[in-house]
Amino acid sequence: MAKKRTVRTIHQERTPVAELDAFTRAHNFEEVNCGYTEAEAIRESERCLFCPDPKCIEGCPVSIDIPNFIQKIGERDYRGAYEVITGTNLLPAVCGRVCPQENQCEGVCTVGETLESVAIGRLERFIGDLAIQNNWINKPYIQPSRSSNGGRYRIGIVGSGPSGMACAADMAKAGCDVTVFEAFHEAGGVLRYGIPEFRLPNTVVDAEIDKLKELGVRFECNVLVGRLFTIEQMIEEMGFDAVFIGTGAGYPTMLNIPGDSLNGVLSANELLTRCNLMRAREFPNVDTPLPLGKHVVVVGAGNTAMDALRVSMRLGAEKVTCVYRRSKVECPARAEEVHHAEQEGIEFNWLTNPIEILDDGEGNVRAIRCIRMELGEPDDSGRRRPVTIPGSEFEIETDEVVYAIGTNANPIIGQTSKLKLNKWGYIATDKTLMTSIAGVFAGGDIVTGAATVIMAMGAGRKAAQGMKAFLGIRDIGPLRRDHSIFGIDAREHNFMRVRVAA
């Protein structure tokens, strides 16, 4: 860094990233965003101003030391960059792809005040992918932590989504014996069954899970906790010293309008699970079917809706339409996803609310009846409330309607344990993410309601901190910003176990 960079001296244009062209990709499941090449990554790294008071770190839910890793990219010290990121973020290849950066780090980046912000997400992904290619892993020096009776602490993790993976990794690094229980036959949570291949290839999820296995984490699939054994049994009978619950918020909401139960009406979760986890797009070579409509209508406009729209397009629907009751400005999906969907030829009906699904006389969907909306006064969330325009009802011909209007807490853990829940059925926790049962922690969507990958991951790590405190394992805290503790580099600290005198 010879001269101090200013907004005027840096490359003015954000380095573009190669993407599959919209026409080809709309018919296959290849990843849309091809990622930066080395030269592109270096060029983009040169746009960072290394602000003395970096806003981006504050914008990041897990406070990645962003300028530090970008600087390392500039120095071509990719391994170093990887270590900076994984100091706080375990899943760079995943988060670089799916984080809503425009509302987080990139949204507050200083460069973004005058030009397009630094492409932090793409740089993160560049490093994450390199790590997978080169099989880098922060294999820490793990000293087995001993519980009072001399054995290793045993930690049970329920659910293998990002929150469970993060908690598992931290506890394994703390020398504990960690087992992850997953109800499905494959691990990964929403990363596996929800987010489709063209946004997050399965190979990336596999690679992240393999890293956890290298840390000694065991995965036990086909285990429905609550029913096969309860949370209470894990603590009282199975010898777990602490448990983390990260079961997500997968219970889909239906619209509750006439025609809800017609054949051809399904939740986005069902569509995506059939397509991603069960690989129904290969039917009849695999056994799970997914009959596809000619004209698919998706209700909702969040990330899940965008995935459902784009998956339907790729499965070969002739026409795919999005119906959303607010306007494009209020749409909760990532800007990039909406943009991609539009490029791929998906039609958007903003300010449109479905009121009834009509049948063909044989129990199948024939059309969806909607009403037009206009924006009224702002509501509690600050967004302008949509109000109906009387007499504006109209029909859209369709043979498949997909609901992507949100999810609720999964009821199984609540049904089978005495854990305290809040009034919406999510698990209640204290500040350390401990639940009403001592030693049992919870985090991710099952505590907050549907959120993001990075929030879930952050929660998993926070719970791990709470768990270590609970067990009396001294923790140096992954989120601490100072770079050395007792004169030892923080990086090393993060992976070393310091035990308290008993």
């Binding site: 109800a183 086909n222 096969l228 139960s261 399904l266 699970t273 199984i412």
Partner: protein, 307 residues
């Protein structure tokens, strides 16, 4: 109970799910006893499992027809009706393993304190009603069993039911054994001699459950049914298993599978079960071709009752 030894590995998941015993009751009905000690301990009447027979397979729901806690096994009784169940009939031999087996799923049946109950099983419902009948018997109830089969050759588990019921009525469509007629005829006959029956439990094809619920409605006797909609995950994640009960939408896998038969919208269930008819046909035909096996074995239990 479960291991409490700190150093011992947890005895769950990724275990082989080995098939220890198999019995064929007819051309279409077969029984598998699968090794899963932890599930055998946890299972309760009315619960089900999700099975994947191989990595490209479907996740199919099957009722836990019996569980042997000491032996560490659960018992599945399966009727070959389509690609997956036909294929399992060929593949699942003693010594082989299931690819995936998750459960026990669903809310266990409420074992009521009723003093007199009728347990009805039709076709593929015969096996699922067994653990409930046994639990009721153990709870001290007077249990009347009614089992419906198409014909004499398809009868199975008669002895098992004799051992745990106080009275047993067998019905066959063609009269080749027991009374000639449908289980609804059996229900009427039983209700005539036992008007003090407090509860009826009916499990079988949707038409049979619907007819059973209609048969008991005039008497105002509580009638529980176990619904079998199409499922994917079995954990409340997809909503594919939603059913209408008393005008409310319920997910059978986590809110059921047992519901009050007088509240269930059976027509809705039957329509939804036809959702994948075309794909099921394609899959079955492809599979039959590929193994050059006749599909003659495919029988329909719907013939057990009149609609």
């Amino acid at each position: 109970m479960i291991t409490s030894d700190n150093s011992a590995p947890v005895l769950t998941g990724n275990r082989p799910f080995e098939i220890l015993r198999r019995e064929d009751y007819s051309d279409v009905t077969y029984m598998l006893e699968v090794h899963h000690p932890q599930m055998a301990r946890a299972a309760q009447p009315g619960q089900f499992v999700i099975v994947m027979s191989h990595s490209d397979g479907e996740r199919i729901p099957l009722t836990i027809a019996d569980f042997k806690r000491e032996k560490g096994t659960i018992t599945l009784v399966i009727q070959a009706v389509g690609k997956s169940t036909l294929e399992m009939k060929e593949m699942c031999q003693v010594g082989t393993h299931l690819y995936g087996l998750a459960g026990p799923m669903g809310i266990p049946s409420h074992v009521s304190s009723a003093k007199k109950v009728i347990c009805v099983g039709g076709g593929l419902g015969v096996a699922p009603v067994y653990p409930q009948a046994r639990a009721l018997k153990e709870a001290g109830a007077y249990v009347i069993g009614i089992l419906g089969y198409r014909t004499k050759d398809l009868i199975f588990w008669e002895d098992k039911f004799r051992a745990i019921t106080d009275e047993l009525i067998i019905c066959t469509d063609d009269g080749s054994a027991g009374i000639r007629g449908f289980v609804t005829d059996g229900i009427r006959q039983a209700l005539e001699s036992h008007p003090d029956t407090e509860e009826v439990i009916a499990i079988g094809p949707p038409v049979m459950m619907k007819a059973s619920a209609q048969a008991t409605k005039p008497y105002g006797i509580k009638t529980m049914v176990s619904l079998n909609p199409i499922m994917v995950d079995g954990t409340g994640m997809c909503g594919g298993c939603r059913v209408k009960v008393g005008e409310k939408v319920k997910f059978a896998c986590v809110d059921g599978p047992d519901f009050d038969g007088h509240e269930v919208d059976f027509d809705d269930l039957m329509i939804r079960l036809r959702r994948y008819k075309e794909e099921e046909r394609v899959a079955r035909e492809r599979w039959s071709e590929s193994c050059r096996m006749s599909t003659a074995a495919v029988g329909s239990e719907y013939a057990t009752v009149s609609a």
